[in-house]
Amino acid sequence: MTASEPEINNPYLPLLLPIAEIIEETRDIKTFRLRGNSIFSYLPGQFAEVFVPGRGEAPFSITSSPTDGEILEFSIKRIGTVTTALHRMNQGEEIGVRGPYGNGFPIEELKNHNLLFVGGGIGLAPLRSLINYVLSPQHRGEFGEIFILYGARSPEDLVFKWELGKWEEREDLHLLVTVDRGDSSWRGRVGLVPQVLKEEVKIKAEEWKSIVCGPPIMIKFTIKSLLEMGFSPSQIITTLEMKMKCGLGKCGRCNIGPFYVCQEGPVFSYEVLQNLPEEY
């Protein structure tokens, strides 16, 4: 044992951050805006393990962009123990965050390309991190045309409704929002995302890259549509939802093929995904 040994930190220790704001997106989805911390710096597409003291810990993708300043946002659907406990919390309370984990989106590869974002339901959350990064003043010039196709089951289920309006106003992107089922006040498009994609997004596939996220079945059919439109597997990027615990590539839960989703993922190109066992 040498005298000058490095100080090893316990990688499982969470950082406690206060909730600055809670936005109710839908009846079961809330966005938590935490006051960020300069020691927690991340890339779009990464995720963090959120710790609710006394309840548990769960992985959530970071929906804010590093260009948004010192905030950290998570959009969380109420579905189990930890998420229910989170939904009961109030502004000012503290929650633990550790990370960031994962590979994030391949930003260098996406530069100088036109980008087609396809999101379904709460799948827009991880995409939003990259969208706002790309749309930020310091980075907009690095990317070509932007097309955002977003759909949900019904108008009630659309998330980030407050931001969709801002995006719609911008001149440097196309936004198309659709719902599977409209309601009496809905004036927008009605149709399933993979369908609307084929019918309304008329683009020349070679000049574009597509980033997809949503429920597994929507991803499956969206990729099918994209391939029919002429996209090659390496032009399609998605982010996998996987049961994860440690986030450090040690507990074994997210192991799929030779990858640990928490380390080499959760962002994968369809080219790589095709060669992985279908255990996700």
Partner: protein
């Protein structure tokens, strides 16, 4: 190119002097005890394998409590005083070539690191492999040794040692005759063991993921966790929070054999039946881990084969897949 390792001979009396002095800090694995128990005082602590010491079945990762106004998080206390673990080569290899690679890298797991740096390994040669042993087929061997550890071959009245360790401070030189004797013992032990798996095995096995052979292979496994808990290399764990206003994050052993291992909160389960889980265990040990780290995540100790309640034999699974691969390989 391995550098030449120190060699030496320890007289029986010197060994006993040393081990009596250290006996409170000596761990012995069950298998090493059954072979070499008479070389150790009765008081030494017996463990199943290195995993029990380095990655205990349950441990606090950190503690938290509510002060009345806010939450506080504290690291648990790990007391790791220097200790020695004497085991067979397979058990030592499980630490050096599998769990060390996972827990000492990317990032370093602090608790494991604290225990590991104060644990010196003593690898005792395996002179008589059991019928369930297959260490040589996965890259190990009955006389496997490592530069950072001490390798011992107890003889009648002395012990041949090789490698690194404080025992070298009172060892004598080794005659050529004895070195030859040791080599002959090694050859004898190796002769009863199967040959090394082909180098193309991890890559080829990956292509047989969808093969129907898995249906037949996995049929009689009852998906308990015996193999994973007794295995010296299986390291999967669970993290759970225990305690409301005051508690800790608990790390406990988990098993890929349990259905809840991959169950999502939405009730979607990518590995819904035993077949997927059995396949995962074999693929992880013989394809995924080797692709990442360069060696199998199985050391061929044979404990799982010995203890399986329904005689599910991982060697048979491997043999069948090798046969299939060789048959269709161009």
């Amino acid at each position: 190119m391995r550098k030449a390792m120190n060699e030496g001979l320890i007289a029986k009396e010197k060994w006993w002097e040393w081990v009596e002095d250290k006996k409170d800090r000596v761990f012995l694995t069950e298998r090493a005890k059954s072979r070499y128990g008479k070389w150790f005082p009765r008081e030494v602590k017996v463990v199943k394998n290195g995993k029990e010491i380095l990655l205990p079945p349950g441990e606090e990762v950190y503690r938290y409590f509510w002060t009345g106004e806010k939450w506080k998080i504290e690291e648990g206390e790990i007391s790791a005083s220097s200790a020695f673990l004497f085991s067979l080569p397979c058990e030592a290899r499980a630490i050096i070539e599998v769990t060390d690679k996972i827990f000492l890298n990317n990032p370093i797991d602090k608790n494991y690191w604290l225990r590991r740096k104060s644990l010196s390994l003593g690898i005792m040669a395996c002179l008589q492999p059991e019928p369930t042993c297959f260490c040589s087929s996965v890259g190990g061997g009955p006389f496997w040794r490592d530069e950072g550890a001490l390798f011992l071959v107890p003889r009648e009245d002395d012990i041949y040692i090789q490698g690194e360790g404080e025992l070298f401070s009172f060892s004598e030189g080794v005659e050529e005759k004895i070195k030859e004797e040791i080599q002959a013992l090694q050859k004898k032990a190796e002769s009863v063991l199967p040959s090394l798996l082909p180098s193309y095995f991890p890559q080829e096995l990956y292509r047989y993921f969808e093969d129907e052979e898995w249906n037949e292979l996995s049929w009689h496994c009852i998906n308990c966790g015996a193999c994973t808990f007794l295995c010296p290399t299986c390291y999967c764990f669970d993290l759970n929070v225990e305690g409301k206003l005051k508690g800790f994050q608990l790390r406990s052993w988990d098993s890929c054999m349990f259905p809840k291992f991959t169950l999502h909160a939405s009730f979607h389960n990518p590995r819904p039946t035993g077949k997927e889980r059995v396949r995962q265990r074999v693929m992880h040990k013989f394809s995924y881990f080797p692709e990442r780290e360069g060696n199998f995540a199985c050391v061929g100790c044979g404990v799982c084969v010995e203890k399986c309640p329904v005689n599910w034999d991982i060697r048979e699974a491997i043999e069948r897949m090798v046969e299939k691969i060789d048959r269709f390989r161009t």
